[in-house]
């Protein structure tokens, strides 16, 4: 299953954080001097986010889209060298990411998910956003915070993928948005957009493995 979906920009600013499994409480941490109150989930989330950002931002664009586990997640893991056997487990073992212009889209998942399919899932996610926002850019996601969550809610429920069909996703979000249309327009006026480039055609930004899949 998918454990978390994260989106952040090139400077590590989060744009979306969705955790499908709960983060552990403060007892996991070795710092005794920090008051437990300050070690809430949010703190763990933030450190996880910054660890992943550190990892992901260090990667050149030519690198593959799979990240090693950050220290927080690999704390006990019996190493991917020995456990790469057929055994599944509940522990997150793979981190898949894709980088679009200013944003990183990241999926943390267990081994029951197919790595290449996850890459496609991100692709579908972005395509759906693009459909809803028309030439989506980071600003859209900042201001369209709720819509962003709604799109994800149509695709993934409780860490399990429920929909990969672009049309149905968009349809579902539109149904739940109802009268939200006007909001987004005002966002764009205020932001003073520069010329938007063409995205939709986007053949170039699809990986090879997308070919037969994304549309189905």
């Amino acid at each position: 299953m998918i454990n978390a979906v994260l989106v952040f920009n090139n400077s590590g600013q989060p744009r979306l954080t969705k955790f499908y499994t709960q983060l552990p409480g403060p007892h996991l941490f070795r710092f005794a001097d920090v008051s437990p109150k300050s070690l809430q989930d949010t703190t763990t989330q933030q450190s996880l986010l910054s660890q992943i950002f550190t990892l992901v931002s260090a990667r050149p664009a030519s690198a593959c889209n799979f990240l090693p586990l950050p220290p927080l997640l690999s704390q006990h893991s019996t190493s991917n060298s020995t456990s790469s056997s057929s055994d599944y487990s509940d522990a997150p073992t793979q981190i898949t990411y894709r980088h679009y212009a200013t944003l990183y889209f990241i999926l943390i998942s267990t081994s029951t998910e197919s790595p290449l399919a996850l890459l496609d899932l991100i692709q579908v996610f972005v395509e759906a956003l693009d459909r809803l926002f028309e030439n989506v850019c980071e600003l859209d996601l900042i201001f369209g915070f709720e819509t962003l969550h709604a799109v994800l809610g149509e695709m993934v429920v409780g860490g399990v993928v429920v929909e990969t069909g672009l049309e149905r996703i968009v349809e579902g979000v539109r149904a739940s948005e109802g009268g939200m249309k006007g909001k987004r327009r005002s966002v764009n006026e205020g932001a003073g957009m520069a010329a938007r480039m063409e995205v939709g055609a986007g053949v170039g930004w699809r990986g090879v493995w997308v070919r037969a899949q994304a549309g189905r």
Partner: protein, 997 residues
């Protein structure tokens, strides 16, 4: 009053560049008041802002009650904000969750699909077992909702319910199965069910075998690729249980592999074949080889043809899975894999690295290591790399966007560029560890040429990355076989290990050690930055000491050992240094004594003075170990100094220097001993430690101690000062109590008789013969001793082996018990005529006692060297890991097998549930003043199981909820009525309460 919207907040953030955190604090303060507002619009807006800020690490658990309020709003968009807040911030221990039950029930039965979806997608984030229990009956009917959108979400929500409350499946599974079996079902729903079944599948594969025909049907239909992938993954877990499946699967899978255009599907087909063990299962039919060839060919194609790093990566992943069982198949692809070792992408390299270490053999080890060494050499060590300790708790503040980046930039995936990044230290560490692993495997059985490997080891030292600050970080590196052992230690260990094990290579190893110890070589042989390689010094100093006869220049070595800078080394290394110094010194002295002359004497005196000076500085070392050794050797060296200065004639070196002290260090050769060998020594049968041997022992000891001390003064010192020939008693330790008295029962009767002291003395010698700390008097040159072994007097006596209580010690017998059954690796065929070497195996006993732990695996002759006794630490629950342990006990094959659950377990469960309900009740009462009651018996369905279960539990629930219990007793129809009534009442109560607040 003017309230900011989320839009205003974000705009405000962008205009407050530089003091964002201040601005945010202001916003948070505003939100705190706004969220308490009576106006639902204001409340919802404030909540949305809080949710946005929560993403940046601003805690909002304090607002959970307000989240609940917004959730109960009548407007969908506000409700959505509330549910978003719940999904993002509620945890299973959030207390207000209990108040949400009725609201969730209501929304689940809402007529509007978007509203109904909200609880469905939020529940997985907040679900608890008690919540699952009370909501199950509301969620279940949604499985047959007219809209597929609702059905597919419900399926997944039920799965998440089952994770915390396994009983869910008992009622939900038949319905979920129905969805799967229904051929007319919407494809999205089928896919969702398959996803869920795949998640459940690996936990209890046996329960899903009955589904195989339907899944197979879906596989043949070739619908959605996403679904096919999941089906294949599911089949991979089923095939080991049902071998007949393999036969059926081979054809469609082969077909898919050959025809599909989707790389992900192709890859998962291959992956499924590997994981499901289909290679081996079909081997008889001859199809297996064909299939294997096809898969490997496709994988190879993924690496070679498609120039896509992702495909390369996953192909290597697949190879890594194959290599475990079919190393030969993978070795055939060696050429492409080797190329991946030099890939610019670190992740790919890591995978390739793992792969090559799985397929290493005598033939390819040299070329693999050569490649890796080239990588290490070509990139400078990154000294400034920050070692992130993983818990960087500085919060990320939302920032105004920097100028360089245009957030309005449309999301286009990056173009791939190709620049070569510097090697990160993590990778460097991994490479070095892998080299050590590969070469050290099975006691160096892969090494074709030890001289070459020694060179590699020496070079590795120079390439070591800086030491990691904390030891815990080492866990990152998976290949650290010994936790807490640094790479430098491992390199040093192997150097020493080779010197000990491979006798033929000892001169070379020793020379390598010598070069490493020399101060003048430090800059050339050690890494330019950091002191990460220092632990090596401890090992090499032992080597130069123990095998000092091979040193090229003992003088230089000694100079390096007693160099001023040495005193600053770590205590552990210093201890080793202190042991090596006398050994090397004696080597020099022995050489000098051959042609003893005035000049030699002067040189030795000079050297001695320097050694003494060095030891003096250490005699006040804060580390007690170091201090003790320094003081002991200092005394010894002072004795030598004295002997030298009181030397009357110059024609002969003092005996103390030429024979007495050297005997401390020479003796039996040190051999590698297996870690568990000591434990296997059987105690001799006649050994009875319970009974005292002589009841009058203590008084005798008392007596003899006083006598001995007197004697010691009289004889020993007299002897030392008057007769130079005699050995100096270093310290006659009284170890009577610990000397093994097993072999020969000593008579203490003699001590009674003061007249025959001569006899007593002889006996004392006899007693001390086995005492390693006792230096026998008047022994000749042939006496052999070793620092850790038994010093033996050499009055014509041979080694008295039967004095050692062991069963079958086979000294000097080379017997390599490599796990591979290969006895002598050096006998293997080699491309070039290499020097034949023998690798000494660990000494061990073949006793019948079952050894604890794996004593053949670790190679160690040093018991203290950190080989912890086997058991790995219990794996902790990982971050983000879902706990599904409850599912393992649940069987899905219901009804027929329901009685599998014995009564006792049920009762336990019921008691547990009753306790949980009580707790829920208590919390409720605490939080709501209004007397709401738990509905124990709500939602009695047509489903027989539910009714049965509820009834069984009721007696316990009754105590806390008489009303609910009474309701349960009524027939189903009536219950529903009661329930409705109750609900109404509850709702009104809730509203009243909200008005209060």
């Amino acid at each position: 009053m003017f309230e900011k919207s989320l839009y205003d907040l974000i705009r405000g953030l962008r205009s407050h560049k530089g003091n964002e955190s201040e601005y945010i604090q202001g916003i948070l303060k505003e939100c705190r008041t706004e969220v308490r507002s009576q106006d639902m619009d204001v409340k919802a807006t404030a909540l949305l802002k809080l949710i946005y800020l929560e993403m940046f690490g601003h805690e909002m658990s304090w607002a959970s009650f307000h989240v609940l309020e917004v959730m109960s709003s009548n407007k969908h968009l506000q409700k959505r904000v509330g549910y978003l807040g719940a999904a993002q911030t509620f945890r299973s221990d959030t207390e207000v969750l209990m108040l949400a039950t009725n609201l969730l029930k209501k929304d689940l039965s809402s007529a509007s699909i978007p509203t109904m979806s909200l609880p469905l997608i939020t529940l997985p984030h907040v679900i608890t077992s008690s919540l699952a229990l009370s909501l199950l009956t509301d969620i279940l009917p949604r499985l047959s909702h007219s809209q597929p959108v609702v059905r597919k979400k419900t399926v997944v929500t039920l799965y998440r319910l089952a994770l915390v409350y396994p009983e869910t499946l008992r009622v939900a599974w038949p319905k979920i199965k129905e969805r799967l079996m229904d051929a007319d079902e919407n494809s999205s729903v089928t896919a969702a069910v398959v996803n869920v079944v795949c998640e459940l599948g690996w936990r209890r594969p046996q329960d899903f075998l009955p589904l195989a025909p339907r899944l197979f049907e879906l596989l043949i239909e070739e619908g959605n690729n996403w679904m096919l992938i999941k089906i294949i993954k599911l089949f991979a877990t089923l095939t080991p249980l049902e071998p007949r499946l393999v036969k059926k699967l081979v054809r469609p899978l082969t077909n898919l592999i050959q025809t599909t255009e989707a790389m992900s599907l192709l890859y998962e087909c291959i992956n499924g074949i590997i994981q499901g063990g289909i290679f081996s299962a079909t081997e008889n039919a001859g199809e297996g080889d064909e299939l294997a060839a096809l898969c490997l060919g496709k994988l190879r194609g993924m690496i070679v043809v498609e120039n896509d790093p992702n495909l390369k990566y996953v192909a290597l992943l697949a190879f890594n899975k194959i290599v475990v069982s079919y190393p030969a198949l993978v070795s055939a692809q060696q050429d492409v894999i080797m190329k991946c070792l030099d890939d610019p992408d670190i992740s790919i390299r890591m995978q390739a690295l793992e792969l090559v270490s799985g397929m290493v053999s005598t033939d390819n080890v040299a070329s693999i290591v050569k490649r890796l060494m080239k990588q290490l050499r070509s990139s400078p060590i990154n000294a400034n790399e920050l070692e992130d300790d993983g818990l960087d708790s500085t919060p990320i503040e939302p920032m105004a966007d920097s100028d360089g980046e245009d957030p309005a930039e449309i999301l286009i995936e990056d173009q791939r560029t190709s620049e070569m990044p510097p090697i990160p230290n993590d990778y460097r560490r991994e490479v070095i560890a892998r080299i050590l692993d590969m070469c050290g495997q099975d006691k160096y059985s892969n090494i074709p040429d030890f001289e070459w490997y020694l060179e590699i080891l020496v070079e590795l030292i120079r390439l070591l990355p800086p030491r990691i600050s904390s030891d815990t970080d080492l866990s990152n590196s998976a290949v650290e076989s010994v936790p807490g052992t640094s790479l430098a230690e491992r390199v040093g260990f192997q150097l020493r290990d080779i010197a000990v094990r491979v006798k033929d290579l000892r001169p070379e190893a020793c020379r390598a050690a010598e070069s490493l110890i020399l101060i003048s070589n430090r800059s050339a042989l050690y890494p330019p930055v950091g002191s990460g390689a220092d632990p090596v010094l401890g090992f090499v100093s032992w080597m130069v000491g123990e095998y000092s006869e091979y040193l090229v220049s003992p003088q230089e070595t000694l100079n390096a050992l007693i160099h001023d800078s040495s005193a600053a080394l770590s205590p552990q290394i210093l201890c080793s240094y202190l042991q090596a110094i006398p050994k090397v010194f004696l080597r020099i002295a022995a050489k000098a004594s051959d042609g003893w002359s005035l000049s030699e004497r002067a040189a030795i005196s000079l050297l001695l003075a320097r050694v003494v000076e060095f030891e003096e500085t250490l005699s006040t070392h804060p580390n007690l170990d170091v201090q003790e050794r320094a003081v002991e050797y200092l005394e010894l060296f002072r004795l030598v100094t004295e002997a030298l200065s009181s030397l009357q004639s110059d024609d002969r070196a003092p005996l103390l220097l030429t024979s007495v002290i050297p005997e401390l260090f020479t003796g039996l050769e040190l051999n590698p001993v297996a870690a568990g060998a000591q434990k296997k020594i059987l105690p001799p049968e006649e050994l009875d430690l319970a009974n005292s041997i002589n009841p009058r022992l203590s008084s005798l000891l008392q007596l003899s101690r006083t006598e001995e001390d007197a004697e010691f003064d009289d004889e020993a010192f007299q002897a030392f000062y008057n007769e130079r020939e005699a050995a100096p008693p270093v310290k006659a330790q009284n170890l009577k109590a610990s000397v093994p008295k097993v072999a020969e029962q000593l008579s203490y009767q003699a001590a009674e008789d003061p007249d025959i002291s001569a006899r007593r003395k002889a006996e004392k010698r006899e007693r001390n013969r086995d005492d390693p700390f006792y230096i026998a008097q008047g022994n000749d040159d042939s006496g052999r001793s070793s620092p850790i072994d038994i010093l033996r007097g050499s009055n014509g006596k041979d080694l008295d082996l039967d004095a050692i209580p062991i069963v079958d010690l086979r000294l000097d017998e080379i017997d390599i018990r490599a796990p591979g059954g290969q006895t002598e690796p050096s006998k293997q065929k080699r491309p070039k005529a290499k020097r034949r070497v023998e690798i000494a195996a660990d000494e061990n006993f073949d006793s019948e006692i079952p050894s604890s732990g794996n004593d053949s695996a670790p190679r160690s002759y040093e018991a203290g060297h950190a080989f912890p006794s086997g058991k790995p630490p219990r794996p902790r629950k990982n971050l983000l890991q879902v706990d599904s342990s409850g599912l393992h006990q649940l069987s899905l094959i219901d009804d027929a097998n329901a009685d599998r659950f014995n009564l006792q377990r049920r009762e336990e469960e019921e008691a547990e549930m009753a306790a949980a309900l009580k707790e829920v009740e208590r919390m409720r009462l605490e939080m709501q003043r209004a007397a709401e009651r738990v509905e124990t018996a709500e939602g009695v369905d047509a489903e027989g199981t539910v009714v049965k279960r509820k009834k069984k539990r009721r007696p316990k629930g009754q105590t806390e909820d008489a009303q609910g219990g009474a309701a349960a007793e009524q027939p189903p129809e009536e219950t529903a009525v009661v329930k409705k009534k109750k609900k109404k009442k509850k709702r009104s109560e809730e509203e009243a309460m909200r008005a209060d607040t």
